[in-house]
Symmetry: none
Subunit: 195 residues, 4 copies
DNA sequence: AATGAATGAGCATTCATTCAT
DNA sequence: GATGAATGAATGCTCATTCAT
């Protein structure tokens, strides 16, 4: 990794939690220099503009979440166990190194949908990838006769994602972690009922 | 209604969709003057600062949503029908005069949770009120033996809200309204299964 | 006194201490409405603009000082005693109802000399009147052979005023009232040496 | 001297006379950009806010006065001659490069006493330093038997300062330079009488 | 005679970005 | 390749004043 690449990476790591907490519009270049100790010139030497940093920060934050989830999912053998890994992770949210500020897809989705097309696309892509990966697991479960053939994998995927993101929003907003747990129990029940 | 009250209301009505679309930080005073045709001085003559406009705009947006939902819910007789009213409304989202920019609770929750305590409180209060009103319906359903006594009304309420808000986010982000419909079908199934 | 005149007087009395404390530029119309409980319209109904209020407030503040000084001076019989009345008054500053904010001539002189011609003229007039009234006393003292005929009454008057105003500035600035007393002792010595 | 330091110094030099003439509240950032030809961003790149410029400008103005006085005082040998240097300087005010707007201590004292604590402290510190430096000269004069041991050096110092500042105010206000000369003659007499 | 609502210029400050060095 | 200095448009907000009612 070249010096330039290392600096780039350093900037991304230090600023990703800020973008995820304050949002794109709420994060200033001054926030970035404060967080990194670098100068404005250095930020602009490594990124063409604020957008590019925000996009890279989103990728970084997303990857953090994905790493956690993939790691827990691949430990599991059956489709049902893999789906339940989501329940396990989000019910024990604090035990995992989630990015500060909560779910980056959710945060970015809400801020960017009407105002920042590039970020919106990234978040939409992340949702689609997530959906596809759940569909894959559910389809495997159907094939291996774990789940009923009558179920609609896309609907299941979208529903699980909606419940998780809804739970994240409600919990972050109210500060009540047992709200998240209650919703995650509903996710668990939904998964149990797939058979 | 005094002139001042009328102007205040006019400002709120004209600017509420802007706050709901661009967010608090993304909405400038210039946006407010452009939307109303009034001058900065006039805005500040009727509100002490941007916060106060934003707070009033949130109330206005929230009320719009609540009016729609209450209207549809009170048309229904049974607890189940009342809950299904949510499914009906959100599945036919575009037929109702929802505020531009989507669900104000969701939008406000995500932006304000880490950055704007007064707005966060308002959004949290709205979620709690919503939850309580669903709990009330579910509890009535239990009492009137529509629903099984083993169900947990608060869990049901939180789950329905999470699914709706998750659906709103996903649909707004991806532009795919059938994603919302798929999730709303899951909500319908959840309600049907309460018996 | 008509209603209008009474309102005018009321505004002057309530706002004079504010102008004397915050200065002309530092005092806003909002300060005036806050201090009086009246509306902007009411202020502008009784005065054509802020200048006119400031000018009237200066007159009011000046008159307060003059009333104190004249009262103490006329109690005295000889020229020397009359001059010593200044020492007595300023050495016991807090016992007299001086306007809040200190000497209005000094305050106005410093702010207005380069920026507000109308106020500057008023302050300059006040200094000249003051000087003339001291000259008159000193001249009487010379005529009545209390003081040496070789003294220059104008020089004495200007020196006494300079010492008093200098003392006011130093004391207000440092908060040390014994600084004022030390200087007032020098004024006393100067008066004693006139013989 | 770095570029930043040079710009900083440039801003101070160009704006110090403006602060001394118009006062802190009366000087706008636009005044600073007009005087320097720089942009607002450039002013704020070199100073954190208007306060910091004002404080630096005060220091600059004060130093100008101090430089003049020290230069003339150190030319003199005896204590009496050193004190008379004040008379000489202020009687020939226009021959020296005093800051435009008059005495910065006086100007700042009057504006800041009730409204700007940081500036008030600076002005108060300047008065105290000035007083101490006169006390030192007077005390030397007593030690070297130029002056009577019965005199109070602090009282002398305060009196001289009060007379000078009073003279400055009166002269600036009325435009009559012979008023200053008359008062300076009184200062001279006071110094002659110290023996 | 007094009010309340509006004006629009002006305020201090921050913004993302550029560019000479 | 990195920095420090500068830009100028935009930020939220306050100002003295006007005027219809």
């Amino acid at each position: 990794m070249s010096k330039a690449e290392r600096t780039r990476q350093f900037i991304i790591e230090k600023t990703a939690p800020i973008f995820n907490t304050k949002g794109y519009a709420g994060t200033s270049i001054a926030d970035l220099t404060n967080a990194t100790g670098l100068t404005k010139g250095s930020i602009y030497g490594n990124f063409t503009n604020k957008d590019e940093v925000a996009l890279a920060a989103f990728d970084f934050n997303l990857q953090q979440v994905q790493t956690i989830l993939r790691s827990e999912i691949q430990k599991q053998a059956t489709a049902k166990e893999k789906l339940l890994a989501y329940v396990q992770v989000y019910s024990n949210f604090l035990k995992y190194p989630f990015p500060a500020g909560g779910c980056p897809i959710l945060n970015t989705a809400i801020e960017a949908d009407d105002t920042h097309e590039a970020l919106r696309k990234k978040a939409a892509g992340a949702i689609n990838d997530w959906k596809d990966s759940i569909i894959k697991v559910v389809s495997q479960g159907v094939e291996q006769q774990e789940f009923s053939p009558s179920i609609n994998p896309e609907q299941v995927a979208l529903t699980i994602i909606a419940m998780i993101e809804g739970a994240m929003m409600i919990t972050k907003l109210t500060g009540k972690t047992n709200f998240r747990n209650a919703i995650m129990q509903s996710v668990e029940k939904l998964i149990e009922d797939l058979k």
